[in-house]
């Protein structure tokens, strides 16, 4: 279980980066109880974490860590804005610790100045099914690519095709599809700027 050990490590190990502003009790605009805090924010934190790690198992683990660490300080009722700020700051710490532990590099991070949990209200709540910030970001990445590279990434990432299915769809061998995907991702990441089409020959 992730539970208390992680929380303890978080409380004592990385105290220095804890949010420095404790939640205070505000008049009005407060969550009535912990359940309300949890229900309103668990989806937001999950979406935020998914955007930072790109997979469900890690996103769920990190979401658990955020709430297990934050439920104590947030147990008393508090203003919505402050609860969200506290959760975001906690998420920042949890994510940084995740990358430190697994890869030794801060692959992605949560910027407290620009991250607003309001943006992670979710497709159902915000009615942005097709055009959320993540979709726009992905579209921007894909737009910049040559046609073949865009196709392989759309098939693999957005349509969930296997490499075999994608190869068939594009009319290339599986080996070539792998090379194409590799080059497409490098190009999308801003590497390989020499303008090669990236078509495996």
């Amino acid at each position: 279980m992730i539970g208390s050990q992680v929380v303890k490590a978080l409380r004592f190990g990385v105290r220095a980066v804890w949010p420095d502003e404790a939640p205070t009790t505000l008049p009005g605009a407060a969550y009535p109880d912990w359940d309300a805090i949890y229900a309103d924010n668990v989806g937001r934190i999950y979406r935020l974490m998914f955007a930072k790690v790109g997979n469900r198992p890690d996103a769920e683990d990190l979401t658990s860590q955020v709430f297990l660490a934050a439920y104590g300080p947030l147990r008393a009722t508090a203003g919505v804005g402050q609860v969200r700020a506290y959760l975001t700051a906690t998420a920042r710490t949890v994510l940084a610790e995740h990358w430190r532990r697994t890869l030794g590099h801060q692959v992605t991070e949560i910027d407290l100045e620009t991250t607003d949990l309001e943006d992670y209200a979710g497709p159902a709540a915000a009615d942005e099914t097709v055009n959320g910030p993540a979709q726009q970001r992905a579209a921007r990445i894909l737009r910049a690519l040559p046609e073949r590279q865009r196709q392989i990434l759309v098939l693999r990432f957005l349509r969930g095709y296997s490499i075999r299915q994608a190869a068939a769809e594009l009319g290339v061998s599986i080996a070539n599809a792998k090379v194409l995907q590799h080059r497409a991702l490098r190009a999308a990441a801003g590497l390989d700027k020499d303008g090669k089409e990236g078509e495996a020959s």
């Binding site: 409380r11 404790a22 008049p27 955007a51 993540a134 957005l158």
Partner: protein, 250 residues
Amino acid sequence: MRHPVDSYVNRLLRRRRPKPFAPTQDELAVMRTAIDLMAATPEAHGPRPAFVEQLRAQISEQERNEQGPGSARPAWRAPARRRFLAAGALTAAGAAAGVGADRMVVIASGDDQNGRPGQPGPGPGQPQPPAELTPTAGVWRDVAASTDLAEGDVHPFDLGSVNGFLRRASGRVQAVSGVCTHQGCRLDLAAARDKLSCPCHGATFTVAGANLTHPRQSSGPLPALPRLPVREQAGRIQVYAPPPSPSHQD
């Protein structure tokens, strides 16, 4: 050709937890791109209901296990003390103190030039702010010109009933109370303009209001300085504060 970063990406594509490896800078860039693309997939839309329920149960269990006394907790988690001090800060710093500045800016966007913030007027795309946050007694009072406060600047102000410090971070103006949350002395801005210090017992705060150091005689960290509602309008920075009294016209 087999790159470790391909394995990482393929684990993501198979909806699995990726395995750690030692990435180069280039590989980190590829990983970030792959993560960005994954964030546009339906998986990212929300947590599984089963997960949400399981975590809820896990938290309840942890709460039951932590009921015993003596668990080491940050001092600011002691609820009684926090409530007491928060209430004190409210009366000390004026009727409007303690209301989140962000929300006040949202409310203020629908005001007429010199009126009190009556009708909440959310900006485009902003959620409707809760009505309880609208202060009932006070006016928007000029404290500085927008041009006086460059990015990163800190600027003291004094309206008599309320005094504090303005700062601009990421383009937005914030205002915190200038009264120490220990025993109510007025805070000074340090020469380096990076923190606020109390002349009475030496407590210090960040310019954002968080407590840095506290006097030995206080039992733990002090509460953060209350934020004051602040807005920028027509080139002026204004703080929402009680109206000027006859003895203190500005």
